[in-house]
């Protein structure tokens, strides 16, 4: 596949950035430049000789600019096969155009400006996509540039190849041109549907990477970048370790979401998409320990995320270079916005551990979707913690508002039915002490959260075993139990109160709210309603 000498260019751009530079280089190789309206003016002002497109089309610019480029002559010059159709072209007096430089007028900007239907319609480009698609179709001979960011590479290539462009470049730019047009046309179609009060949705992804496999090894798995997305999970830097797996990536999203809204040092421990550990506080090492101790069994093989740069002292908690292998804490992935040099070096003691540089704050999700068989559910993200904290019992909640917020952040990441028990530790750190996830029956989630809290408190308890129950009840009395949805009966309150829980927040809204409140008053439990349910499936 040979290089093609660029003898004739058609330039018609809405974004004029660097167009003069590109045109100058083309002229330097004696390339004729055909241009239209505004582009022509700018090039001529820069002293570049330009052929008016009307000389080529043989037609006037007509109908308020609706007809500029579309013509037998232009599209023929782009489309004819330089070998098969050579004689026919000569007979018809069609001279080849070798490069098209065209970026479509940004319809998205017009749309964002809140334009009315007439204005939107006027801004639908017909000629641009036609010449871009015609040039792209004939990429065997023609180069199509639709993106300013490609100018530099093309200039370099022209200079290195005596004014020629290679097949590989033409092929790559052809794909870009078709993608560019597809995005453009898609936006128009969804916009017109919107104008009719109809909803359509077109999602576009690129750069698909084949992963080793999907959730399981008999499933193929792929990872794509959303076209137009900023700094996303796709762009995370793996500083060390094995390739990320399908399940790693899903867990990383959960991990990042769990810590991104924490204000102090935050750390999440993720297993099967649920945070089984979460903590926040002023000392990162202590925070890591507290998160880990939320479920020190499940934490093995987990995904760990930090919301702030990580130092050596923090990661040394993993004991990666301990001579006693059993003391080493194995985790799959560590994510943080940054690592100190020493921390990074330390993490590399473990050959396979994936060390990832990504700032959780950069994770911006537009909406959530659930792809079903032939259909799709879409919703905006659940980002509001609560409506208000409304006292509904005789007793007032006895804890900081910040602890409630921490607990809500954690609970919101746990699959429904979800119950979280959180506490403020003696050192001022907040900790997810126990959680219950994914149960069909809320009572079981409450039971699981209490059992886990008991285990964890037992792990930290240093007194006489016979005093543990007292310690357990006391500690739970200082904690808060958070429910993702209302209590349908009073049984959850009974169970929680029996274990020692004295503070509960939940959305409220059950027909049994009265019974639930009465039970709280009877058992000396403080309860507040948040007004917002947080189902997550």
């Amino acid at each position: 596949m040979k290089n093609i000498k660029i003898n004739r260019a058609l330039i018609s751009v809405s974004d004029k950035t660097e167009i003069v530079e590109l045109a100058k280089v083309l002229r330097g190789f004696n390339c004729e430049i055909i241009s239209t309206g505004g582009t022509k003016k700018i090039l001529e002002e820069a002293g570049i000789k330009v052929t008016d497109i009307r000389e080529v089309t043989g037609n006037p610019e007509a109908f308020g600019g609706r007809m500029k480029t579309i013509s037998f002559n232009i599209e023929s010059a782009l489309l004819f096969d330089r070998e098969k159709d050579k004689q026919e072209a000569e007979k018809l007096n069609i001279k080849p155009i070798d490069i098209v430089v065209c970026n479509l007028y940004p319809f998205s900007k017009v749309k964002e400006s809140g334009a009315d239907l007439d204005t939107l319609i006027e801004n639908i480009d017909i000629g641009g996509p036609t010449m871009v698609r015609a040039a792209a179709k004939n990429f065997k001979y023609v180069t199509t540039i639709t993106d300013v960011s490609d100018y530099d590479a093309i200039i370099k290539e022209l200079q290195e190849n005596k004014g020629c462009i290679s097949y590989n470049s033409r092929f790559r730019l052809m794909r870009k041109a078709f993608n560019h047009t597809a995005d453009y046309v898609a936006l128009i179609s969804t916009t017109m549907d919107e104008q009719a009060g109809e909803r359509s949705l077109r999602l576009a992804f690129e750069d698909g990477k084949k992963l080793r496999y999907g959730e399981n090894s008999h499933q193929e798995g792929f990872f794509y970048k959303e076209i137009g997305a900023g700094n996303s999970l796709f762009d995370i830097k793996v500083l060390h370790g094995k390739e990320l797996s399908y399940n790693n990536i899903g867990d990383i999203q959960s991990a990042v979401d769990s810590v991104k809204n924490l204000k102090r040092f935050g750390c999440a421990v993720i297993k099967h998409n649920n945070p089984c550990g979460l903590a926040e506080g002023d000392n990162q090492r202590k925070v890591f320990e507290a998160a880990w101790n939320g479920d020190p069994i499940s934490a093995f093989g987990s995904i760990i995320a930090f919301n702030k740069p990580v130092d050596l002292n923090t990661v040394e908690f993993l004991n990666l270079n301990n001579e006693n292998k059993r003391m080493r804490k194995f985790v799959e992935v560590v994510i943080a916005p940054k690592y100190s040099e020493e921390a990074l070096e330390y993490l590399q003691f473990h050959k396979n551990l994936r060390v990832i540089e990504f700032d959780p704050k950069d994770s911006k999700q537009k909406f959530e979707i659930k792809y079903l068989a032939g259909s799709l559910l879409l919703q905006d993200c659940d980002e509001k913690l609560y409506e208000k904290i409304e006292k509904v019992t005789e007793k007032q909640l006895d804890c900081k508002k910040e602890l409630l917020e921490f607990g809500l952040i954690g609970m919101m990441q746990i699959k429904s039915n979800s119950i979280a028990i959180v506490r403020e530790m003696k050192n001022g750190n907040f900790q997810l002490l126990g959680m219950g996830a994914g149960q069909p029956n809320r009572l079981v989630s409450t039971k699981l959260a209490i059992e886990k809290s008991r285990e964890n408190l037992n792990n930290e308890f240093e007194g006489n075993p016979e005093d543990f129950d007292k310690y357990f009840t006391e500690e739970l009395g200082k904690a808060v139990l958070i429910s993702d949805a209302f209590f349908p009966f009073a049984d959850n309150v009974e169970l929680a109160a029996e274990a020692g829980i004295r503070n509960i927040i939940q959305p409220g809204g059950s027909i049994k709210d009265k019974t639930v409140k009465r039970k709280c008053n009877e058992l000396g439990v403080a309860m507040a309603f948040t007004g917002i349910r947080h189902f997550k499936h």
Copy 2:
């Protein structure tokens, strides 16, 4: 917005279905018909007078058909503003074209045929999308038909309106035209990426319905149909009851997936996306009871799916018209391929109960996706139950292969870590006796499955309470425990064996497999490996 009399039509279609009928109607209103190549031939053979497009363009058909319609005259005739540009058009001798009938050559067929790059390229239509988009842009005056299924409505409208088409029709068809072009262009762009060994993905959805809200009431929620999908969840018929909610729809997918591969009568009870009840057998009523009794507490407010037509006897189990309200079983949704008249009438005793007609077998999912912040995971669906059932202990599994398959089907729908305990009942039905879902620690899932089994067996036990433990152990001895992933330690086996479990299947593949097998042999447990993990998150 006025009706437009159709005086001049441009017809160029690849799918010739019913084109003669449409053209005849147009001619009946004295409409001039301009046409190209194959379409022209067919119309003329049917005795319809046709203007050759070359008479309008003033150009030859050139370059092996690459240039046919694109011309100053055609696109001007479509694009000029009938009011503002009237005089200019007259001066340029441009006569308006009022309707374009054009369906693009189905690129997808060429692609599916495995065509090479050259053939694909040759089949990229440039002129078609140009004239469709030009006509659609000028929908204020021009009608654009891109779909044979619209001919009938247009014929009717022409006949009722003396050869005119209304603004509303033009608007609707404009949207269709832009959508059609968007799909077409999208397919080309992903195909060209494929040709380069790159993966891009474009998903398109239409008919978005605003739901009351998303997973929670402070989130907006929408439901879309995938463009091109067959009979999907979007098309389910709600025969009775309230509007489906966001969570209903997600649960319906889980319910449908849980029963669609069952061979005998099947029933699933879904809560929070997990089947908490599942059964299969020869008697539908008994199957419903068995499924319900898998978790008779959580079953309240659940989603119920059947895989076969439902009769009155089955649904009477719900006790909907029982005088004692407490005896009535409240469920949110019932799904079945069909209902007997009596069954349907009975279900309407409950005002809000959504009764849905949908055959679970019609649910065809192309792949699974997980939409993350600015990126996307995609995998093919998990459809293979097992590689082989490989005995790995001294004892052989003591149960039917069909029971194993039933259990695998159930377990595969339960969120990881997932443990299912299934049994064959005395009446030959298979039942999910207990399950553990969504736990970070597999041991907890096992514990949950055993506890639920104990509760359920206790509910059915009719002997002396002191004899229950014996009954429990015996019944569990006949059941099978199924794990979605390997056991990392022998503790799961110990816990299961202690409860009475004697049959276990799991994928195998842990570095501790040997220890696990040894523990089975020691405790008299039969274990088989399936070779396939079934994580589901």
